[in-house]
Structure formats: structure tokens, C-alpha cells
Symmetry: C2
Subunit: 303 residues, 2 copies
């Protein structure tokens, strides 16, 4: 038997009664008759299967279950109030909001560079970013909780979700490493990579397959010491000196400055493609359009 949905009307009465310690006073505060409240609290208790209030002296005090319920009720009604306030205050039609989902696999620095353009638009834009797995973000996009998802692979056209992928250009990939490692493997690159410790994206990432093909074609077999879903985590491990790690060549300077890691060698012909995924085939949101059309400041091969 599936229990019916919670009746928030009943819950509110219970909540007020618990605050006032009395049905009578709650009735006064709410401007309704005592019987009304009495009945509805009884209904709430029945639907939950637990007593929520018990008389003690002249007051009504919450039972153990009632107290638990109150912790939820507190939050629920606080949220309700905040929501009203937020909607009233926000001139949500004035400021343009852009909700962006950023795939784990996308290097944060790339994400930043891609989104940079929205701050140079004529109108003020409030950027709301959410990180997560590709599939999660795609679902939120479909629900219009997000305006666009930035990621490293296109959405499957055959999927049950009606979304559209817009390529943002191809980026050349370089292997980076902490200074000591970088010095060691920079010589004779790429011939000496066999046995070199390496950090790679997990299978399923588009880049992974390309890198493996590149390694094979160069006849080298490094030791894969770690696989990462999340690009930021991958570079963190790389910075710590645990292995060579791939990243877009254009980030060379940023990686040196932020992570203290140096380039080891370019993976010729390995290219990562980034995408903006949106709901419409023809992009409407001006900020998304700006991202789509941005003349990205670093070298980039048009796809």
C-alpha cells in the first residue's frame, strides 16, 4: 500500500501548534477555529501512522516522532518563505541568467576560457555553474534546469533526449608532468615512454581511445597508474608527480602557473573536441550564442 502524499496544509497546522504549545493559541494565530486544527492534525497523524503531539499538563508537546517531523517542517516552511521572498526581490526579467553544466571530464581551465566571453556581453549576466557527470547534466538540460552543457563529447543523436551538440573546435593535446618526471621523459619523446607512469581519463572518455591509438602507433606501452573520470582530479594527481597526464596544449602556461607542471611532449594528431549541448538546434539564449561563436583567444582549428 502506497502511502498518500504528504498534506502540507495539515503539516503547517501541526507546525504552528507545536510552536504555540496549544491548539487554541494556534487557532488564534492562524485565524481559524480550534476544531479545524484538531481534526486536521488527527488526519496527519493517521496518514503518518504516528502520534505527533501528546498532552502534558496543560500543553501539547511533540512526541519523539513529532519532534522528528518538526525538524523537517522547519526546513520546509522556511524554504517556502524564502522562495516567496526570492521571487519578489529578484527582478528575474532584468538580469540575464545563464545556467551552465560543466562535465567532470572537461578541464576547468578550458571551461573558464569558454565561458569567459559571457562577461563581455553588453548586458549583465549572472552565471550559475553546476558540475557533474555527463548523463546527469544532460538530464538537467532536458528539464531546462540548465541552459547549456559544456563537455568533451557530443550527445548521442539517437538518445531519447532531444538535445543538440554544437562543436566548439578541436584542441591539440600535450602530455604534462611534474618537473622531475617531465625532464626525464622529455628526452627521446616519445620513444622512451614504455613503462612511464601515466594518468588517463577513464574508458568512455573520447580522449582515452585516441591516446591509446597514439601510443600503439608509436609502439610504446606506458604503465597506466590511474584512471580518472574527473579532469581536475587527474591533474591534481599529475601535479603530485604520480605520472604523465594529458591536457590541451593551449593550457600549457596555465598549467605551469597553477600546477607547476611542465610539458613533456605533444601528442601529434590527438585532438580533443569540446561541445556546447543545448536544447534547441538554433540557439536562442544570447549568452549561449556568445559561447558558441566566441573567437576563442588561443589557437584553434575550426572543425
Amino acid at each position: 500500500m502506497k502511502s498518500a502524499a504528504l498534506n502540507y496544509h495539515h503539516l503547517r497546522y501541526f507546525w504552528v501548534v507545536a510552536q504555540e504549545g496549544s491548539v487554541t493559541r494556534a487557532a488564534k494565530r492562524l485565524g481559524v477555529a480550534v476544531q479545524t486544527i484538531s481534526v486536521q492534525i488527527a488526519q496527519l497523524e493517521q496518514s503518518l501512522g504516528k502520534a505527533l503531539l501528546a498532552p502534558q499538563g496543560r500543553r501539547l508537546v511533540p512526541t519523539e516522532a513529532g519532534r522528528l517531523a518538526l525538524t523537517y517542517a522547519d526546513q520546509i516552511f522556511q524554504l517556502g518563505e524564502h522562495m516567496g521572498a526570492a521571487l519578489r526581490e529578484t527582478d528575474s526579467d532584468r538580469t540575464l541568467r545563464l545556467a551552465v553544466g560543466i562535465s567532470d571530464a572537461l578541464p576547468k581551465l578550458i571551461a573558464f576560457r569558454l565561458m569567459e566571453v559571457v562577461f563581455h556581453l553588453p548586458q549583465q549576466v549572472r552565471l550559475v555553474c553546476r558540475e557533474g557527470e555527463f548523463d546527469t547534466l544532460l538530464a538537467e538540460l532536458a528539464l531546462h534546469r540548465l541552459d547549456v552543457v559544456l563537455t568533451d563529447r557530443a550527445a548521442q543523436p539517437g538518445g531519447n533526449l532531444r538535445v543538440f551538440s554544437h562543436p566548439l573546435g578541436e584542441f591539440e593535446i600535450t602530455l604534462f608532468a611534474a618537473p622531475a618526471l617531465a625532464r626525464r621523459y622529455r628526452r627521446d619523446f616519445p620513444g622512451n615512454l614504455s613503462g612511464a607512469p601515466m594518468l588517463l581519463p577513464t574508458r568512455g572518455n573520447a580522449l582515452r581511445g585516441q591516446i591509446e591509438r597514439w601510443l600503439e602507433s608509436h609502439g610504446v606501452a606506458p604503465l597506466i597508474v590511474g584512471e580518472f573520470e574527473d579532469s581536475a582530479l587527474l591533474t591534481t594527481f599529475g601535479r603530485a608527480g604520480l605520472g604523465l597526464f594529458p591536457a590541451p596544449s593551449v593550457l600549457s602556461e596555465d598549467i605551469a602557473a597553477q600546477l607547476g607542471a611542465e610539458p613533456v611532449g605533444v601528442l601529434a594528431d590527438v585532438r580533443e573536441q569540446y561541445y556546447a549541448i543545448s536544447n534547441e538546434r538554433r540557439i536562442r539564449h544570447p549568452a549561449v550564442e556568445a559561447i558558441r561563436n566566441a573567437p576563442v583567444s588561443w589557437s584553434r582549428t575550426e572543425g
Copy 2:
């Protein structure tokens, strides 16, 4: 004009429609007619003063305001579901729960020692602790959100809240300090305290007055370099070597182990009294009673 309270019933329909992207499908899922939903969403929009959904192609997508509302709705209905689950799963009558409020001013170690006994009761007790200011905690006690408040001062009997203070015994107070400071001021204590850096509780704390009287009676005037509402903060500053600080003598060992601070000298005749404040004159909650009657393991003068 005060806006009417949020109608959670309407909000739920809106929430489902946003998920489904269509009134029709939402109606199917909810088992009601489309008109019903249509009307109620219109009412919700009117009461909030903003459009929440806008047609786009064949779908209904949330507006900017709608999206904001959805972030709240998500939380609200998640809480509702969790509440039902929590109430169903918890055998809230089996496990005894004890909600304790701990005054900022109370040394955490004392609080721990006072509450220790509840874990040795025959029945399993789930301890729920909340920290805060004295007045805040007292209000929560009055609402029965807490079973007992542990604090360093009794509640005013003349207050508008009907609560009762149960003394838990008196504790002798010692001045402590980081090792270097302690060595310096331990000699000739208490005669050399004039000009010594000292950290004290804020005025209003019961201990503060006693310490000042003690200092005066010994004819010394230290330099008060800090006043703290929160005892944990006070000891943290003390540990950093910023000054001498008072704490119960019985915590000497704990303070040495945890904070690396050493005793400087005992404040003879200065005694801190701790209290358990509850709702009933005669305590009913077995765990509270245990705290009240615990033969505290360390030296303690019965009041």
C-alpha cells in the same frame, strides 16, 4: 499588502509539470484532469506575481522565475518524502532520543563529561546535540525541541518561560596558559599577575564577576586582552599563547593533552556552577535524570 501563504498543493503541480514539460503528461502522471492543473498553476503564478512557465515549441519550459522556484520546490518535496520515510523507518518509540542544548559558555570537555553517563544506561540512547547561545537554547527548550540545556548559569525564575534549573555541582577554577606563559606566571602566583595578559568570558557570564572579585581581593590587575562568549574559542586563543585563561581544575589533564596548556594557579574560592535546565520541575526523561544524578567521576563539591 501581505502576500498569502504559499500553496504547496499548487506548487506540487507546477513542479510535476516542469518535470514532464507538459500539463497533459503531468495530468496523466498525477491522475487528474488537465484543466485542474492548468487553473492551479495560473493561480500560483498570480499569487507569486510572476509567470513560471512559458510555451516553447510544443513544450512548457520554466521561465527564469520558474527555474528559481524549482530549486526551492525540489528541496521542499524532497524533504517531504524524506520526512515520510524517516517517520516510517524510525522505530521512534524504541530508541530513546535525547536532544541536548549546550551553552557556548560551557567548556566542551565539561559537557562531554556531563553527558557521558547516558551511554551507560541500560537502553540505547541517541544523543542529539546542539550548540548555541543561552537564550536561543532556552527558547528551543520551551518549544520542546530540546530535552535539556546544559549551561553555566541558572535560568531566571521570573522569566516568561516556565523552565527549571537543576544544579550539577560546583567546580573549582584554575588559570591555565601555554607553557612559556605558564612558567613565567606560576612563580609568585598570584602576586605577579598585574599586567599579565588574560582571556576572560564576556560580562554576563557568571564566572566573570567572580574572577574580577578574586583579582580585586588579591590586589592584582591583569591586562584583559580578550573577552569571549564561547568557551571553546577562549581556550583556543589561550592555547595560542595569547593569555592566561580560566577553566575548571578537573580538566587539567585534558587541557594538557588536548591544548598543550599548563596550570598556572588555582583561583581559590572561585567556583563555577553548572546547571541542567529542563521543562519539568521533576525530571521525567530517564537520560536527563541520569545526567542530573550522575556521580561525576571527578572531584566535585556538592552544592
